[in-house]
Every structure is written in structure tokens, then in C-alpha cells.
Symmetry: C2
């Protein structure tokens, strides 16, 4: 019986908490930044803002008290938006203790610093001279399906495979299967960068350029994100696995992808601020990750033509059709 | 101005002929096995059986006279079902001449012999001591989108890259882009094997196991077909390209995939003969390719767990839910 704290009550955090509670064997606390959400989960068993329509297990203890959530938890799963990770971990610092295990389930790169989530967390821990073991959870997983009990396969990565294997045992259930990996960089890069390609695929769909084009774009997309991940120290085979290709395919083709939907709206000609304003506080991580990825790519000397065009649409005022034309009209006659 | 003969008036053959005719610069003949189809295309500009609803360019000369189609053509594009390739090429032999260029656009492995299409063609040519240059055309391409002029990227492969580059120039248009490759084996294996994984993905959808499961299956699927392709002499990077990953993703997630649809019906509990009988003569290549691929895999000592389960459903009477359970319940705790 472990106490597990899930920090962040977005769709994915809520689904992780629900899956662990359904599994049984643990005591699950779900921390929400917003007291009203914690109260609604506690009172009605529903996250009406981020995961409406799903009855959550009554055994989840929802709270907006960070100290209460974190203190004494054996495992702490961070699922906040990437832009809040640094702040929330700083707030958690007074309550953390040696021996606790941190899992990052946030999929993004910090805008500004271009740091991966585990790097951000590592910096905050180092500033407090605290050393904790950590792991990264990623893979193809629409939250709605996980909470509904659809079979889902994820990757759990830690530099120490024994840590990953421990989490595998603690989290696994008949519907949730975890595969261990020791490539933290690859798993984090896969989870973050797929959102950029999902934005691009959405643009193609919004422009009604067809599924043939989208498939070609996805093919180039996985090649491009693999180049950057490998340049940053990730492994090629990780990018061909669940946390790379698997999550990219789901996010680029699935009906529940927020980042893809933002791309669709961009492709239809709507402006980014208007699209984001209409999302009711839900975050499309790809928007921030695009710029961060591009800065990393330039540092590492990696070509990322799709990411460049997405950035030009998001931040350079480029018309989506012009971006699509520039992308598809690229020179290069041999495939490799 | 070349004369190009397209042999086979299924959806893909018809779309290739239409794309080349729209492009201009060539004289295009489309051969149909069925006189009524050739007559309908000639009279009404529509292939009412295999590609209904699309007005075909009037410049296409449709015929059911194989000699008239083949004699004097500089380029002959074969797009017949894999089960007819050997027979049709034998019928073509009397009319073929040195200097003609053959392109195979059929996506399948010959059932029984487990031969790739270019191997089958090579055997027929050798039996007639005729030596012709050949290439293979593949990649993510729903016929309906190609005929509608949606942008499409394909791979054209020949052991002689100059041959591939020649076809690239002759076929390329503002909406059809060809990339050259010299890995004929990889391109043929990619085009054939993706249909097996599409059947499996369809089964998962028919069983309503969700998009997370499908994404995990696609990830394992590309790994498994890559193993077989590489064991047969194909290249890993080809399988990560348009003719491998690109076509697999399209066929496994797209709305127009026949093989996926057969899988969906299997997953819903319908029997294979009943499903095939309802397809109005349209071929789902994956059905024949599954057994052929499995025999190849056993010869080469390659593990293909998904292909095995698809074969057990198709030919072993296994219940789809049991196959899905056996697939997802496989041992193996590390991802690689």
C-alpha cells in the first residue's frame, strides 16, 4: 500500500489518478491548483472542467492543499502544464523528503529555457540540495480512454531501470501496461515533440489537403523529431517505440488530440489567440514547445523543416497555405 | 511524349491513369480485364465499379485489349491484384519488347509462392528469356485522393537509380511528387505488409478497444514488418519512409482503407467469407499477404506476433477478442 500523489488535475492527471484508484492497492491523492475542481471531484466524483462525463472512483482524495498532497507520499506524479512545472516544484520543495520518488508525466519542453521537464525538476531540486530518484511516464494515451478502461500501453523511463521496474509493478493493471526504458531523454523528447507534428498535421487537415499528405507529413515528422532527440542524447529505438512513434501517430491521427485540433483551426484561417481563448483553459503544449524545439534544433545544428513552418505560422504570421506549399515544395528528389 | 499503359482498372490503377492524364505530356492507355468497365470509362468517363463518382480525363484510352494496350508502350504500369500478376504478365509476354520499362504498383506478396511482385514478374520474364528494366511504385496513396488532385508523395524504387529518376520526371506533377530509392525489396515489403497490420488495427477498432490500443499496435506493427523486410534484404530506413511507415500509418488510420475495414468487420464478429462476398469484387490484399508473410517469417526465423494473430483469425477460426488478448498479454517488460 503506497500513497501516491498526482499533482495536476488536467485531463491526463485526472485519468492517471482514476486508473491508479481503479487498480487498487494504493491510496491516491489528486492535487488541483483550483479549489473548485478539487471540491467538485470530492463532492460529485467528476472533473467537470478537464474530464467531464466520467465518474471518478470515490477513493480518490482530491485536494488543493499542496502540502497535504505531497507530504508522506511515496510516489509523486507531476502532470502540470510544462509552463507551470518549475513554479509548482518550487512550491513543493518545503514538503519533499529524501526517499520520495518523482514521476514526470508532463509532455512539453519549457519555453524560454528549452529544458526538458526532468531537467527543470533537476534544477529545482539542485537549488534545494535535494536528491530524489525520478522517472518519466509517456506514450500513446488519450486520457478519456484511460479513464474509460481501454487498454493502454505506456513507457516508464528512468536512468535506473530498477526504479522504472518498481513503478511498472505499482502502476500496472489489466488495462494499463507499462514498458520500462532507461532512455529518459528519448522518452521526454518524444512526448514533447509529437505535439509540434500534431499541430502541422492539423493544419494540413484544416486546409483539406487530404490524408495522403498527412501520412507523408507524419513520416517526415517522426524523422525530424528523431533527429533532434538523437542530437540531444536520446536513442533512435526509443523514438521508434511507444513514446515516440506510437504517441506521435495517436496525436496526429486521433480524434481526441487538442494539439491537432488547434492546427485544424489554424489551417481554417482562425487566429491563434482566438483559438487559444476558446479552449477554456485547456493547454495545447505544442504551441510553447514549437519555439523551444526550434531553439534546441538551432543549437544542435539539426534541420527541422516542419517545426520551422509551424513556428512561422504560430509566431511569424505566415499563412498556413504558404507554409504547407513551402514544406511540400522543398527540394530533394531522393527519399533519403 | 511517351505512351504509358496502365494494366488494371481497380481504384489505384484508375487513379494512376487519371493522374498521368491530368498531368499531360503522355498518351495514357488504361487496360481493364472487364470489357464493360473499359467501355464505361470510354463512354462516360467514369469507373463506376472501382472508383465511382470521379470524372476521369477524356484523354484516357480505356481498353480490354491487352495487346493494344501493351504494344508500343514505353512504360507499362502493372496495378492488378497480386493473385493475378503472374497470369496477366504471362498473357502480356507475346507483346512485350526490349526497351520497355515495367513498373509494379501492386501491393502484395503472392500467396503460395510468398514471392514479391518483382520476383514474380522476373520469373515470368526469365521464362521468356526477356530482360526488361523495372521499378516499383508505392507509398501512402488513397486512390480517391489522388484522382481528386490532393497532394501525394510516393516512392519510386529501382535497383538502377537512373531508371527511378526517369520515372520521377515522367510522372511528377504539381500534386504528385515521387522520391527515388534503390531499395526495391524494402519498398515492396512495406507496401505488402502494411495491409496485414491494417487488418489487425481494424480488428482492434471493431472490438472497440480504443485508439490508445491501436497506436500501440501500429508501433509494434511497424517494428514487426521492418524485421521481416530487413531479413529479406530491405533497408531499415526504407521502412521508416513513405513506402513503409507512411503507407502503414495511412492504411491503419485512414478512413478509406479496405484492409482496415475488413478487420473492423472481423472484430465485430462477421465471418471472413461473408465480408469478402460483400466487397463487390474489390480485393483486400492483406488477406492473402498474411499467410504469405507468415511463411516468409518462418523461413527467415523472424518473430511476427501480430501477423500470427491475424492469420489465426483469418484461417484458424480464432475469435478476434482472444487474438487481441493473446497479443496484448504477451510477456515482455522492457520495451526493447
Amino acid at each position: 500500500m503506497s500513497r501516491i500523489a498526482v499533482i495536476g488535475s488536467g485531463a491526463w492527471g485526472t485519468a492517471i489518478a482514476a486508473s491508479l484508484a481503479q487498480r487498487g492497492g494504493h491510496s491516491i491523492t489528486l492535487w488541483s491548483h483550483t479549489p473548485a475542481i478539487a471540491e467538485a471531484i470530492q463532492a460529485a466524483g467528476e472533473n467537470t472542467v478537464y474530464l467531464p462525463g466520467y465518474l471518478l472512483p470515490a477513493s480518490i482524495a482530491a485536494t488543493s492543499d499542496l502540502a497535504a498532497a505531497v507530504e508522506g507520499a511515496e510516489i509523486i506524479v507531476g502532470v502540470m502544464p510544462s509552463s507551470h512545472v518549475r513554479t509548482v516544484y518550487r512550491q513543493m520543495m518545503p514538503y519533499l523528503q529524501p526517499g520520495q520518488l518523482l514521476i514526470s508525466a508532463t509532455k512539453g519542453i519549457e519555453d524560454g529555457s528549452s529544458r526538458r521537464m526532468s531537467e527543470v525538476i533537476g534544477e529545482v531540486l539542485a537549488a534545494h540540495t535535494l536528491k530524489l530518484q525520478y522517472a518519466v511516464l509517456s506514450g500513446p494515451s488519450f486520457a478519456q480512454e484511460v479513464v474509460a478502461g481501454s487498454p493502454t500501453a505506456l513507457t516508464i523511463a528512468s536512468a535506473d531501470l530498477a526504479v522504472a521496474a518498481h513503478i511498472q509493478r505499482e502502476f500496472a493493471s489489466p488495462t494499463l501496461r507499462l514498458y520500462t526504458n532507461d532512455d529518459v531523454v528519448g522518452v521526454e523528447m518524444g512526448g514533447a515533440l509529437k505535439n509540434v507534428i500534431a499541430l502541422a498535421t492539423g493544419v494540413i487537415a484544416g486546409l483539406e489537403l487530404g490524408q495522403n499528405s498527412a501520412a507523408a507529413l507524419i513520416t517526415r515528422g517522426i524523422a525530424e523529431v528523431t533527429r533532434l532527440a538523437v542530437a540531444c542524447g536520446g536513442r533512435r529505438e526509443t523514438m521508434a517505440g511507444l513514446a515516440g512513434l506510437g504517441d506521435l501517430v495517436l496525436t496526429c491521427t486521433g480524434s481526441l488530440s487538442r494539439n491537432r485540433r488547434v492546427g485544424v483551426e489554424l489551417g481554417r484561417g482562425r487566429a491563434l489567440p482566438e483559438i487559444l481563448a476558446g479552449m477554456g483553459g485547456k493547454v495545447a503544449e505544442g504551441v510553447g514547445t514549437t519555439g523551444a524545439a526550434l531553439r534546441l534544433a538551432r543549437q544542435k545544428g539539426v534541420e527541422m523543416p516542419i517545426t520551422e513552418q509551424v513556428d512561422a505560422i504560430l509566431h511569424g504570421g505566415k499563412r498556413p497555405l504558404d507554409a504547407a506549399r513551402d514544406l511540400m515544395g522543398r527540394p530533394g528528389k531522393e527519399e533519403f
